[in-house]
Amino acid sequence: MTEIGAAELIRGVELFAERLRERKAELTDLDSKIGDADHGINMDRGFTAVAAKLPELSEADLGTIGKAVGMTLISTVGGASGPLYGTFFLRLGTALGDRRTVSGQEFGAALRAGLEGVKQRGRAEPDDKTMVDAMAPAVDAYDSRIGEADPADALRAAAAAAAEGRDRVTPLVARKGRASYLGERSAHHADPGATSTTILFESLRDAIAGA
């Protein structure tokens, strides 16, 4: 398939919600090493609220879905993850507009709009060891693949790049968020945000590939 529709986006968000629940303890555990032990809990709370909203969005356009997911996250997650993931989905939805399906290229542009929103909101630079270090390479990989491949292939590349980005910054010292207070002690621990972002791209990949 070459188009991405509302069903795929909803399925991707559903998969993300399921996997956040399954991996809640793991994410919280990562966060307890270099943060404040609530990333899994907060993401699960937000995506549980999102999952409850999804059924009523099945007939909606892509923009409405993205914005509803974003607003729900902003209103339920709190912490840093709420505004960041919320902004990602808000910007994604705004870019997707009132369409029910978009091309692989258009979806890529929306992912990039989401990424830019996250960077602005969080003021994070590359190598600060944040979710941006998984999200930016994922969006780059998607973009470089989408010309020659269908969205499923591009998302496979994106998910792999996210995981690679997450692992690449694991040895680094964090420079943003609560992990930054640790200084050298933050090195050699995976970043919880980069980890959940990798799960996001894996969920999108599996939703599209499985569609």
């Binding site: 404040d36 997650v77 420079r175 207070y181």
Partner: protein
């Protein structure tokens, strides 16, 4: 995990219900989980709003009332509140003179308050924000999220709240808050971890013979893990960096605040205060006011923090001004 709770998910809501029932004369609780001064909005008065994750009680909800906060927004435990709360708070306390947001410097608080301020301004309410970042344990540099907002927040809320109570305008109140922020320094330590109810296990591991110096109010690991030490040694480890940072000099008048992290008995805080008095005297720093107790806590964590605020005449006057909240009350 041993806690007097019913379920992690209902903890904040139930505690708010208890607070509302206990302090009918001072506060009311409105949706979505905002503690508002009973008589808000007060026409012509600058509204003072703060908030942050729960688990730091009495901060902030215990500081809502006459002469301090007009509203407080409690998030989930150790998680910043959501913008809907700060927006509702801002609207509830706006008496036409604008609203000041006092924000602790944590990434989540900053972002959520920022979103709320944008939304409130969109609805025509003048909003100013001051970020409190007083924790000298954190290097303030490009390589960190900056100093955390800790004990200084309590002092800022009291002093700024008194200024708003006497009718100072938003620009003046904001400038005062920035002056407090510029003159306050803190550092904390922990003997034990705390347990976030939803996580169900201690945030960090710490040996029976260890203590964590420079800890944040969410159990974020601090400057260094040290061998167990005496109260006097711990006080030196906290107060020396504070004194050196501003720096506080001979002749300075200060407010000294010895704070318990939640699980530390008051008797120990007085032992620490005794050493604070000695160290300040040694440097010629004059303690003009003090506050001793558990006011900004980390659930049941054992430990303490020390805060010094360099006072000027106006700050001292506003500190002494009447306050009537659940947690701080005089005159």
């Amino acid at each position: 995990m041993k806690k007097l709770i019913n379920a992690p998910d209902s903890l904040v809501d139930e505690a708010l219900a208890g607070m509302a029932a206990a302090h009918l004369d001072l506060i009311r609780v409105i949706e979505p989980n905002v503690i508002v001064r009973a008589d808000a909005p007060r026409k012509g008065k600058v509204g003072v709003v703060s908030g942050g994750g729960s688990g730091h009680e009495p901060m902030h909800g215990g500081f809502v009332g006459l002469g301090m906060l007009d509203a407080a927004c409690p998030g989930a435990v150790f998680t910043s509140p959501v913008p809907d709360q700060m927006l509702a708070a801002t609207k509830a306390v706006d008496g036409g003179a604008g609203v000041l947001h006092i924000v602790k410097n944590y990434t989540g608080d900053i972002m959520n308050f920022e979103l709320a301020a944008e939304l409130a301004q969109g609805e025509g309410i003048e909003v100013a924000s001051v970020v409190i970042a007083d924790d000298v344990a954190v290097q303030d540099s490009l390589y960190t999220a900056g100093r955390r907002g800790v004990g200084g927040t309590v002092l800022a809320e009291k002093i700024v709240g008194a200024a708003a109570e006497e009718g100072q305008d938003l620009a003046t109140v904001k400038a005062l808050c920035e002056r407090v922020q510029a003159n306050v320094r803190s550092m904390g330590m922990a003997l034990t971890s705390c347990t976030v109810p939803a996580a169900g296990k201690p945030t960090f591991e710490i040996g029976d013979d260890e203590l964590e110096i420079g800890i944040g109010i969410h159990g974020e690991p601090g400057r260094e893990r040290r061998a167990m030490a005496t109260a006097d040694e711990v006080t030196e480890m906290l107060l020396t960096p504070i004194l050196d940072d501003l720096p506080f000099s001979s002749g300075d008048r200060v407010l000294a605040f010895v704070n318990g992290m939640g699980g530390t008995p008051l008797i120990e805080l007085y032992v620490v205060y005794r050493k604070v008095v000695q160290m300040c005297a040694d440097r010629g720093v004059r303690i003009e006011r003090n506050l001793i107790g558990s006011y900004i806590t980390s659930l049941e964590m054992a430990g303490c923090s020390i805060t010094l605020l360099k006072l000027d005449d106006e700050m001292t006057r506003l500190w002494d001004a009447p306050v009537h909240t659940a947690a701080l009350r005089w005159q």
